[in-house]
């Protein structure tokens, strides 16, 4: 539960995109650059309005002609020490792909909201996670939010982790397109004073400065390149405890906690654990409550951090279950598995624990996942718990008549 009922007096009913734009504003960015693309558009429209109204001091909004230019502009601005923010989705994120590696390799803590959307062809504007999952190996932190409140609260947290001197990596704060970006519901808009307390000004150790010339990401021959890659991985590992710490400190200051690297819901005694990321978790928790009311021990593991991948935390959370089912809104075509499923299996393989894990790829291109489908998945996982795996990974609800 990421909504704190005690916050009710502070809540306002706004669109998820507005809550996120407002959160970006109170993080006091110095440069914003973005190119509009559905369903991210409302976020950048709201930010443009804030800029036009003079509500973001000491900030420049750079209009560009593409996402490639947007992220390139931010590589420059971040290198001179400006706190830099963007938002994008789908084909826009894919167009940034090359520069994402540069931003990470240059160790620039740019933060970007991704309003997750399917990728074409065929053209599809609706939600799944194929866009950000496809950026898995670019060296960006990648966190996934469950609801609009968490999508907003995630921004100061991820800025703080990314700008930490032991980390210095860019980060994506992912929220499900439309499902979270276009929903109106009560949220607490982040307070400026609390955010100033939580997130100090960005104080980079190294900046591009004509008075003190230095190069970023210029060239590395075989005798040094490997060490740059090693340092990137080391920074990712350093981010693991920082993500936990930032979530905890956020909770102390703002009174809301959405989980650190993971968040466990009724997992302690669970025989079947359902794992996933993003907005589907709310629906899953509602279904699990129905099972619990009937005395069935089902639990939910929310994975908040996809990169860095919290192997230890996941192992610990699921090791005592009789079966685990992983729901992925993405697929690695050719492996017939979603990424969270593959990586969860991978992190269990060399542990001494041998529990059956199955996967479903769900919600492709915005296909709705109703409660009944979640219940069907849980029933399958129960069978696996008692009699083993028959199908390891599958699509949830393919319409045979359309094939």
């Amino acid at each position: 539960m990421t909504v704190n009922v005690a916050d009710k007096d502070k809540m306002v009913v706004v669109e998820g995109s507005y809550a996120v734009a407002h959160a970006a504003k109170v993080c006091r960015p110095n440069v914003i650059s973005a190119y509009p693309i559905t369903p991210q558009t409302h976020i950048v429209e709201d930010l443009s309005q804030f800029i036009a109204d003079g509500e973001i001091p000491n900030c420049e909004y750079i209009n560009v002609e593409s996402e490639f230019s947007a992220i390139s502009a931010l590589v420059g601005s971040s290198a001179v020490g400006a706190r830099s923010y963007s938002a994008t989705t789908s084909q826009g994120l894919l167009l940034m792909h090359e520069v994402l590696f540069n931003a990470s390799g240059m160790r620039l803590p740019i933060i970007m909201t991704v309003a997750n959307r399917a990728v074409g062809a065929p053209i599809n504007i609706w939600n799944d996670h194929q866009d950000s999952i496809s950026q898995r190996d670019t060296g960006w932190l990648q966190l996934h939010a469950e609801d609009p409140q968490e999508s907003a609260d995630m921004l100061p947290q991820i800025f703080k982790v990314a700008e930490d001197k032991d980390v210095l990596l860019p980060g994506m704060a992912c929220m499900d397109g439309f499902i979270l970006s276009h929903v109106y519901e009560p949220v607490v808009l982040l307070e400026q004073d609390l955010t100033d307390e939580f997130l100090p000004a960005y104080d980079p150790e190294y900046v591009l400065d004509p008075a003190n010339p230095m190069s970023f990401g210029a060239f590395a021959a075989p005798d040094t390149y490997e060490e740059f890659r090693f340092m990137q991985e080391k920074a990712m590992q350093a981010a693991l405890p920082k993500i936990e710490a930032a979530a905890k400190e956020f909770g102390e200051i703002y009174g809301r906690f959405h989980g650190g690297l993971i968040d466990e819901y009724l997992t302690d005694d669970a025989e079947v654990i359902v794992m996933s990321m993003g907005s589907i978790l709310g629906t899953v928790k509602d279904v699990v409550d129905e099972y619990r009311a009937r005395g069935e021990k089902i639990g939910v593991l929310k994975v908040r951090s996809f990169r860095p991948f919290p192997k230890e935390q996941i192992r610990k959370a699921i090791k005592d279950a009789a079966a685990v089912v992983v729901l992925d809104k993405n697929i690695s075509i050719g492996l017939n598995e979603g990424a969270l499923f593959t990586e969860t299996k991978s992190c269990m393989y060399n542990s001494r624990c041998d529990i059956p894990i199955i996967g479903y790829t769900i919600g492709h291109g915005g296909r709705d996942v109703p409660r009944e489908s979640v219940a069907k998945i849980i029933e399958e996982a129960k069978k696996v718990a008692s009699s083993g795996i028959t199908v390891e990974s599958q699509f949830l609800d393919v319409k045979e008549e359309l094939l």
Binding site: M1, V3, V5, M11, V13, E15, T38, P39, I125, W126, D147, D176, F178, I179, H182, V183, Y184, E185, P186, S279, I280, L281, G282, T283, K285, D286, G366, D368, V369, P370, R371
Partner: protein
């Protein structure tokens, strides 16, 4: 939890109505959620928007298949859209039309109520904008939200005379449907 589906045509403000309804329910002390049927926003095309109202925070993010209430902004939709789809047997369908529920012959066990929101809108607002008017009828028919909360939500969104006129029309539709109910 109560689930509401609003049928309209692109440009009639179905999404705005769903949002205002969620704001009003929140003002009443409930939790609420409003969302459109994503990606079909073409002027004149049949569109849907949804609201959930609950005493506890709402985690459910799937679409609404079995609504408690349905609001139909444009009776011409009855020819092409099954507005009663999935509605609960004890639910209520509120339709903007001059006709009576009996005339419409909608195949449903749910209660059908009609209100001439277009006439109310023309008389008070001077334009055939019915989305807010129907929220007044919704408050009167269902009792799920306070009509004053609806009016406050409108006035917050549309300041000055526009908000005032809408509030007046909302009250009128509320009164009309209360009479029909009684």
């Amino acid at each position: 939890m109560k689930e509401i589906r609003i049928h309209g045509r692109g440009g009639q403000g179905s999404v705005t109505a769903a949002e205002l309804l969620s704001a009003a329910a929140f003002e009443d002390g409930k939790f609420s959620q409003a969302f459109p049927a994503f990606g079909v926003e073409r002027r004149g095309a049949p569109v849907q928007a949804f609201t959930r109202i609950s005493d506890i925070p709402i985690r459910l993010r799937s679409q609404i298949y079995k609504p408690d209430y349905v609001i139909v902004q444009d009776a011409t939709l009855l020819e092409t859209v099954d507005v009663a789809s999935g509605i609960k047997d004890d639910g209520i369908i509120i339709i903007n039309t001059k006709e009576t529920p009996e005339d419409l012959k909608i195949g449903t066990k749910a209660k059908v109520m009609t209100v001439d929101a277009t006439e109310v809108a023309m008389e008070i607002i001077g334009r055939p904008i019915v989305n807010t008017v129907l929220l007044g009828a919704f408050a009167g028919a269902t009792g799920e939200v306070d009509v004053d909360s609806i009016k406050n939500a409108i006035k917050e969104r549309f300041s000055g005379k526009v908000g005032e006129k809408n509030a007046e029309a909302i009250q009128k539709a509320y009164d009309l449907i209360r009479e029909e109910k009684a």
